[in-house]
């Protein structure tokens, strides 16, 4: 098996902190976090890895994979056991997403969106009735989609045009959404629509729209460069009637929820990019240790060693940024700047790593017979979705600016 043996010590060493040390290293996990990571690592290697290439080629996520994600409890990591969830922590979700991404970034993003966006929204904003209706489905058999972007509004999310017109006790939603992940398999859609365009973004409201609602059309999925097994579809909403009780949270507060949740979601994406980079690296380095040219392993050439060490350093830094952002959030401390840093940095590191790994593997790295080229294609979306790199940088700059206010 492919083993990342580098500095990874046994499980017990990772838990160990020398007596009297009150600040353990960032890579310190509770016993449960360690067990979860091991379980997911094994599950991903044995049940998902054999299907990755086929799912990528056919641009289709095997339904067995989705079912087994639910069976393993990976789709409701933070959901309360009373709703059939695992009842674990945000950091556990991050570890799970990282482990899944080492094997397949598409599977990781499915798990990430469900846990960090959909489940979080319902848990934080849901009424008792909404939670009862949806949370147990989300943890056991139903995938959710988050619908914010449109053809004319990506980064400029709040200029969205989808309208929700109020009638007595229901709304009629009209508009279209683009780039909706998981759309092919989702049973519920969280649609951001503007209930009062005259107030600008302060009319944006989050609506729960079930898949079988009349007027909701899921368009043909995009033919993408990477993350192909993750369905990305346009959505058409044609006079979709949604009862008032299907509003998640408050009318006109949708923009707040979107931002709030994307702040957390970006740590999840960071974990995905981190896992992607690590998984790619773990598969490329063994090749460099086997391949012999000019009488020695190509790993032993100084230029190679320097490149490999540099990339390993970048991945380590990316990991620390990601883990720290996650721990900050769990600790209830400010984390938005750090989350932006994590997402921005890991997506850049994923790009660097995958690009270098192909070079290290030479010709075979360029062929589809080896898994490396898929990582290269998959990483590109990291700098684009859930907040482009430029948006992350601008957000960080705003925080930095404030820090210097006297």
């Amino acid at each position: 098996g492919l083993r990342n043996q580098s500095t990874r010590a046994g499980l017990s060493a990772e838990h160990a902190t020398a007596p009297g040390v009150s600040h353990p290293p960032l890579q310190t996990y509770t016993e449960e976090e360690g067990m979860m990571r091991e379980a997911v690592k094994r599950f991903a290697q044995e049940r998902i890895a054999p299907l990755v290439s086929k799912m990528d080629e056919n641009s289709h996520m095997d339904s067995e994979v989705i079912n087994s994600l639910f069976e393993q409890g990976l789709m409701g990591i933070e959901i309360d056991p009373e709703y059939g969830g695992t009842g674990s922590s945000f950091f556990s979700s991050i570890l799970v997403i990282e482990e899944l991404a080492k094997v397949d970034a598409s599977v990781a993003v499915l798990c990430d969106i469900q846990n960090t966006l959909i489940n979080t929204l319902f848990t934080k904003l849901g009424t008792v009735a909404q939670k009862e209706q949806y949370l147990s489905r989300l943890s056991t058999d139903m995938v959710g989609s988050f619908c914010l972007s449109e053809a004319e509004s990506g980064s400029d999310a709040f200029s969205l045009k989808t309208r929700a017109d109020k009638h007595k006790d229901y709304y009629v939603i009209n508009g279209s959404k683009m780039w909706i992940s998981n759309a092919e398999t989702a049973g519920v859609f969280l649609v951001m629509a503007n209930a009062d365009p005259s107030t600008g973004y302060r009319g944006i409201t989050c609506f729960i729209v079930d898949r079988d609602t009349e007027g909701l059309q899921i368009g043909k999925k995009e033919n993408k460069l990477g993350l192909r097994a993750s369905s990305t579809c346009p959505l058409n909403l044609d006079n979709v009637k949604v009862p008032e009780k299907n509003i998640l949270g408050q009318v006109g507060h949708g923009y707040k929820y979107a931002i709030g949740m994307l702040n957390e979601g970006r740590i999840g994406i960071a974990a995905q990019m981190l896992g992607l980079a690590q998984g790619c690296f773990d598969q490329a380095v063994p090749y460099t240790r086997q391949r012999v040219q000019f009488g020695k392993r190509i790993f032993d050439f100084q230029a190679m060693q320097h490149q490999i060490a540099h990339v390993a350093t970048q991945i380590e830094a990316a990991r620390l940024l990601t883990y720290n952002a996650a721990r900050l959030k769990e600790a209830g401390r400010p984390f938005i700047k750090e989350a932006c840093m994590a997402k921005y940095f890991t997506s850049e590191v994923a790009t660097l790593t995958t690009s270098k790994c192909i070079e290290w593997m030479g010709g075979v790295g360029f062929t589809k017979d080896y898994p490396i080229e898929k990582y290269y294609r998959d990483c590109k979306i990291g700098t684009i979705y859930e907040g482009t790199t430029n948006i992350q940088l601008s957000t960080m700059a705003k925080f930095i600016d404030k820090e210097f206010d006297l």
């Binding site: 990874r8 046994g10 067990m35 379980a39 069976e71 393993q72 969830g85 009842g87």
Partner: protein, 253 residues
């Protein structure tokens, strides 16, 4: 009392490249990834399945070793065992712990816990002894069904299909009995995340071999551990005649 005792051993992970210590006293274990012995996983799976079929009321996972052995027990709990027993053996005692001492411990526990069935992996992948199950049965004077590829409870008897050199042998033994699991007995489940969380609340009792009246002094002394000889490169030949010539030359034929 319908209770199953399952033994689980913490061993160096199967995928790790094992290295011999420079002083040849053993293999390097510090900082090396460990996990549950694969045959023990199969044993746990079988025990949990029997409980799920309502043939037994409780599954108890037992491990002998230092503090880290509790991680292995915790994994067994996450797979569905009800509670665990950690028999603490550390330092030099642990290094010299072998099948005879472990079977004495299991025999004592099987009696103490009034187990109807003891399921163990057929062997551990570190020492490959393939003795503990057999010795435990002998110490208890219980029947044994080893190398099991199928286990079926029929009343107060166990039907065991055994993988033997000649094929498959089916035996029926009275309970209480010892069964050892072979590779094809089942496919162990993954510990699901919710079960990992539930396992945190399950109890692991702690005890020492002395508490069970077991003397763990070893009668064996490991003199030296070496790597297997390096496999020499082969020679490629072009024709069958060359092959025959080379085989004759090497004295093989």
């Amino acid at each position: 009392m319908s209770r199953v005792l399952v033994g689980v051993k913490r061993v160096i992970d199967y995928a790790v490249k094992v290295r011999v210590k420079p002083d040849h006293s053993g293999v390097v274990t510090d900082g090396v990834k460990h996990s549950m012995n694969p045959f023990c996983e199969i044993a746990v799976e079988e025990a949990v399945k029997l409980k799920e079929k309502k043939l037994f009321k409780e599954v108890v996972a037992v491990s002998c070793g230092p503090a880290q052995a509790t991680e292995t027990i915790r994994t067994a709990l996450a797979m569905g065992c009800d509670r665990g027993i950690h028999v603490e053996v550390t330092g030099k005692d642990y290094e010299s712990l072998g099948p005879l001492q472990v079977s004495k411990i299991f025999a004592a526990l099987a009696k103490k816990e009034e187990a109807s069935l003891v399921i163990l992996g057929k062997q551990a992948i570190d020492d490959d002894c393939n003795q503990t199950g057999q010795m435990t049965a002998a110490l208890l004077d219980w029947p044994q069904g080893t190398f099991a590829s199928e286990v079926e409870i029929e009343g107060d008897k166990v039907k065991v299909v055994r993988e033997i050199d000649g094929g498959l042998e089916t035996i029926k033994i009275n309970m209480p009995a010892v069964v050892t699991a072979d590779l094809r007995l089942n496919t162990p489940r993954y510990a699901t995340l919710p079960n990992i969380m539930k396992a945190k609340k399950k109890k692991i009792a702690n005890m020492k071999p002395a508490d069970l009246g077991v003397d763990i002094v070893s009668r064996l002394e490991v003199l030296r551990v070496d790597e297997p000889p390096t496999r020499l490169a082969g020679v490629k030949v072009e024709t069958v005649d060359d092959l025959v010539a080379k085989l004759k030359e090497s004295g093989t034929i």
